[in-house]
C-alpha cells in the first residue's frame, strides 16, 4: 500500500510560497501546474486516477513549511512532492521525505543541494544556479572579452551559490574577481554599490537579487552613465516584468537559465496556446514560472504514465528515469535516467531587447 495512491486518486503535495517574499515565483508556478492537472483530470486522469494537487503556503518561513510537510505527508499522505519552493525549506523537508522515499520533483530552487545524497527520490527540472552562472560568465567572457568579474548578492543560500559559482568560474577562466557587494531584500538604492563596482572596473556583474532590485540596479547603472558593463541574472530574474520595464531600462540585461523565454516564442503553437489558456483561466498574463509549473507537472504526469497502473514509489522513480522527450513549451530536451536526475541539462542565455527576452545562446 503506497501512501497517497488509491484506485481513483493520487495525491501530489507542494510546500510553496503563496504570500511571502517569493510569492511572485510560487503563485504562477502553482497556477501553471494546476492548469496541467486540470487538463489531465478532465481527460480522465492517469491510469484512471485523478490527480489531487494540495499546496501548502509557507510564506517563506521554515516553521510554516514544516507544518506544511507534516500536513501533506502525515495527513494528506501525499504520494510525491512537486515544485516545493525555497532551498532551506526543501532541505528541511528531505529529513521526512527520504526515509519514506517520497519523490521530490522539480523543486523551485536551483540550488545544488536539491540533488544531495540520497539522490534516489530527488528530481530537478533544470540546471542549477551554479551551472547557469558557470555557463553565463563563460559566454560573456568569450563574447565580450570581459576580464573583471563582479557579483552582487543577497547573503542567503541562493546568493551564496551564485557568488561562489562566479568566483569559481572566474578563477577557472583565469579572470579577476574585481569586487562583490551584499544586499538586503528591502534595499532600494544601489548607487553606492554600483559606484564601488564601477570603480573596481567590472566588465561582468552577476546578480543574485530580488526581481525588483535587479531592475533598479540596471536602471541605476545606466543613470550613472556606466554602460560598458554586462549584468547577468540567473533563472531567478528571468522574468517578463524585468524585460517589460518601460523606457527600455533593462535593455542589455543578460540572464542565464534552463529554458527559453515564453513570450519570445508567443507566435509558436504550443507556447501561444499556453499563453492564451493561462490568460483565459487566471485572467493574468502567463509568466516564465507559470510555464515552469506547467512543464514540471507535465514531467510528473509523464512519469506517472510510465510507472504503469501499479503505482508505487519504485515504479514512479523507474518511470521518471525512463523519461526522454522534447518539451516544446520550455523549448528544452528533458532527459532523466538512473544517475541523471536532472531534466533539462542545457543552459540558455538570453538578453533583453526591445521589451522582451531574446535567446542568444544555448549550451
Amino acid at each position: 500500500e503506497t501512501q497517497g495512491v488509491s484506485d481513483d486518486e493520487v495525491v501530489i503535495g507542494s510546500v510553496n510560497d503563496l504570500s511571502g517574499v517569493f510569492a511572485a515565483v510560487g503563485v504562477p508556478a502553482v497556477n501553471g501546474a494546476n492548469m496541467k492537472f486540470d487538463e489531465v483530470n478532465a481527460a480522465g486522469g492517469v491510469h484512471g486516477r485523478k490527480i489531487r494537487f494540495v499546496v501548502e503556503d509557507n510564506g517563506y518561513q521554515i516553521p510554516r513549511a514544516m507544518q506544511g510537510y507534516n500536513k501533506l505527508l502525515n495527513k494528506d499522505k501525499a504520494f510525491a512532492m512537486l515544485l516545493s519552493l525555497g532551498t532551506p525549506m526543501n532541505i528541511a523537508g528531505f529529513k521526512l521525505m527520504d526515509p519514506k522515499g517520497i519523490p521530490n520533483v522539480g523543486p523551485l530552487s536551483a540550488a545544488r543541494e536539491m540533488l544531495a545524497e540520497p539522490m534516489d527520490n530527488k528530481f530537478t527540472g533544470f540546471s542549477s544556479y551554479w551551472d547557469q552562472v558557470q555557463v553565463g560568465v563563460k559566454y560573456l567572457a568569450g563574447e565580450f572579452g570581459a576580464q573583471e568579474v563582479c557579483t552582487m548578492y543577497i547573503p542567503s543560500d541562493f546568493g551564496k551559490e551564485i557568488a561562489d559559482s562566479t568566483k569559481d568560474v572566474t578563477a577557472a577562466l583565469g579572470l579577476t574577481m574585481a569586487g562583490e557587494t551584499t544586499h538586503k531584500p528591502d534595499e532600494l538604492d544601489f548607487v553606492g554599490s554600483l559606484t564601488k563596482l564601477k570603480s573596481a572596473g567590472c566588465d561582468v556583474v552577476t546578480m543574485a537579487l530580488g526581481v525588483r532590485q535587479g531592475i533598479t540596479v540596471v536602471g541605476t547603472a545606466k543613470k550613472l552613465g556606466w554602460t560598458d558593463v554586462k549584468f547577468m541574472n540567473t533563472s531567478a530574474g528571468f522574468l517578463e516584468p524585468v524585460a517589460m520595464v518601460p523606457g527600455g531600462v533593462t535593455d542589455g540585461l543578460y540572464a542565464a537559465a534552463g529554458w527559453v523565454d515564453l513570450y519570445s516564442r508567443a507566435a509558436d503553437a504550443v507556447p501561444g496556446k499556453f499563453i492564451a489558456d493561462y490568460k483565459a483561466k487566471y485572467d493574468q498574463p502567463a509568466s516564465g514560472f507559470a510555464m515552469l509549473g506547467y512543464s514540471a507537472a507535465e514531467t510528473l504526469v509523464r512519469a506517472l504514465e510510465a510507472a504503469g497502473p501499479d503505482l508505487t514509489h519504485e515504479a514512479f522513480i523507474k518511470g521518471m528515469e525512463s523519461l526522454d522527450y522534447f518539451d516544446e513549451l520550455t523549448d528544452a530536451q528533458i532527459t532523466y535516467g538512473p544517475g541523471d536526475h536532472r531534466g533539462a541539462d542545457e543552459v540558455t542565455i538570453s538578453v533583453v531587447e526591445g521589451g522582451g527576452w531574446k535567446l542568444v545562446s544555448r549550451q
Binding site: E56, K75, P88, S156, D157
Partner: protein, 361 residues
C-alpha cells in the same frame, strides 16, 4: 461559585489554590501524556509545534507581559538557543547537558544585550530589538565557520540514556520530551510569579519611579527579566531546530519575532494561560485554515495568499473581540459560569476607557 477558605498564608503561596484546580491540571497533564495513543502522527506533530511555540511564548511573556518590555526581536534568541544547542552536541556533549547549557548561554547573551537595552522604553526598545533580529541573520552568515552560514545545520539525533528521539521517526518520544520541557518552563514561570523577583518585574512594569523608591534596582531587574526570558526562548529555539530538522540564517526571521509578540498579545498579556492560548491560535490556526480550505475547496489552490489574508483577518477579529486577549475572555466566561444564574447579561460590556501618554515614565 467556589469560595476559598484560607486558613494560613501558605494558601496564597501554593501552586494550586484548591483541590479542584489541582485536579483539573492533573487531569490535563495525564491526558497530555496519553496523547500519542489518542492522536495520529499529524496531530501529534501539530500539538508538539504548539507546545514549542508556547514555550517561546512563555519566554517572551515574562519580558513583555510581566516586565512590560516589548521585544520584537525574540527570534534572535531562538536562533542563539538553537545554534548553541546543536553546536554543543556536535562538539560531543550529550543532549541532557547541551540543552540546558544552550538555555543558559542564551540567557547570558540576553542579559548582556539588556545592559544597553534597559534604558530603552516602549517603541524604542521594540525597534532596537527588531534591529537585533535583523542583524542576527547577518551575524549567522558572518560567523560561517561555526554556524555554517547560509547552508545551515542539521539537527542531530537526540539520545537520552540511550533512547533515541527524533521528530519524524519517533514523534511520540519527541512529543514527550517537549511536553516535559513545557511543564518545567511553566513551573519556573509560575514560581517566579509567586516570589519577590516576579513582583519586582510587575513593579517595574507599572511604575519605575515607585519601584525605585521601594529599593528595586530597575536595570538589574530588567536584566534579570531579559536573561530568564531569553533563556526560556533559547530552549524553545533549540526545540524548534530539532522540530524542523534543518535550519539556517533565514529560519529565525523577523517574521517569527513579530508572530511571537502577536501570539502573546492575542493570548492575553501577563498570564501563563495567555502564552498557551496564543500558541494554539498562532501555531495552529494557519494549519486549521488550510485543512478547512481543503474541506471546502477540495484541495488545490483557489486564491494565492488567501490563508495568510484570512489569518490576518481572524487575528483582527480576535483583537477587536477581546483586546485583553483570549485569556481575558476566558476569565469572563469562567466568572459568568461561577456566578450563574446571577450574572448580568452585559456585565462585561466594555466601559468607556481612556488612555494617557506612556511617554512619561
Amino acid at each position: 461559585m467556589r469560595i476559598h477558605f484560607k486558613t494560613s498564608y501558605e494558601h496564597d503561596i501554593r501552586l494550586f489554590p484548591d483541590w479542584w484546580t489541582f485536579f483539573v491540571y492533573a487531569t490535563l497533564i495525564v491526558v497530555a501524556v496519553l496523547l500519542p495513543w489518542i492522536m495520529d502522527d499529524f496531530y501529534l506533530g501539530e500539538v508538539t509545534n504548539v507546545l514549542i511555540w508556547a514555550i517561546a511564548g512563555l519566554g517572551l511573556m515574562l519580558l513583555t507581559g510581566q516586565t512590560g518590555q516589548a521585544s520584537l526581536g525574540h527570534a534572535a534568541f531562538l536562533a542563539v538557543g538553537c545554534y548553541s544547542c546543536v553546536i554543543f552536541m556536535e562538539q560531543g556533549l550529550p543532549f541532557l547537558i547541551a540543552f540546558p547549557a544552550a538555555g543558559i548561554l542564551t540567557g547570558i547573551v540576553g542579559t548582556i544585550i539588556a545592559i544597553p537595552a534597559v534604558r530603552l522604553h516602549g517603541i524604542y526598545l521594540a525597534i532596537a530589538t527588531i534591529a537585533l533580529s535583523i542583524l542576527t541573520d547577518d551575524l549567522i552568515v558572518l560567523m560561517e565557520p561555526i554556524t555554517d552560514g547560509v547552508s545551515g545545520k542539521f539537527a542531530p539525533m537526540i539520545t537520552i540514556f540511550g533512547i533515541e528521539i527524533e521528530r519524524w521517526t519517533t514523534p511520540d518520544r519527541f512529543y514527550w520530551l517537549v511536553l516535559a520541557i513545557t511543564i518545567i518552563c511553566t513551573l519556573i514561570y509560575r514560581n517566579l510569579l509567586r516570589s519577590p523577583l516576579g513582583r519586582a518585574f510587575a513593579a517595574v512594569r507599572d511604575s519605575e519611579v515607585s519601584a525605585t523608591a521601594m529599593g528595586v534596582h530597575i536595570a538589574r531587574t530588567k536584566a534579570a527579566s531579559f536573561g530568564i526570558s531569553c533563556g526560556i526562548t533559547g530552549l524553545a529555539g533549540a526545540l524548534m531546530g530539532f522540530y524542523a530538522g534543518a535550519f539556517n540564517n533565514e529560519t529565525f526571521s523577523i517574521v517569527i519575532s513579530i508572530t511571537l509578540l502577536m501570539m502573546i498579545v492575542i493570548g492575553g498579556l501577563g498570564s501563563i494561560h495567555g502564552a498557551f492560548f496564543g500558541a494554539v491560535v498562532v501555531a495552529y490556526l494557519p494549519q486549521f485554515l488550510s485543512i478547512a480550505k481543503d474541506a471546502i475547496g477540495g484541495g488545490g489552490v483557489a486564491i494565492p495568499g488567501l490563508e495568510t489574508g484570512v489569518f490576518g483577518a481572524i487575528l483582527i477579529l480576535f483583537i477587536l473581540f477581546e483586546p485583553m486577549g483570549i485569556y481575558g475572555r476566558w476569565m469572563k466566561i469562567r466568572i459568568w459560569f461561577e456566578l450563574f444564574p446571577f450574572a448580568r447579561k452585559d456585565m462585561f460590556k466594555r466601559q468607556k476607557s481612556y488612555l494617557k501618554t506612556e511617554r512619561l515614565r
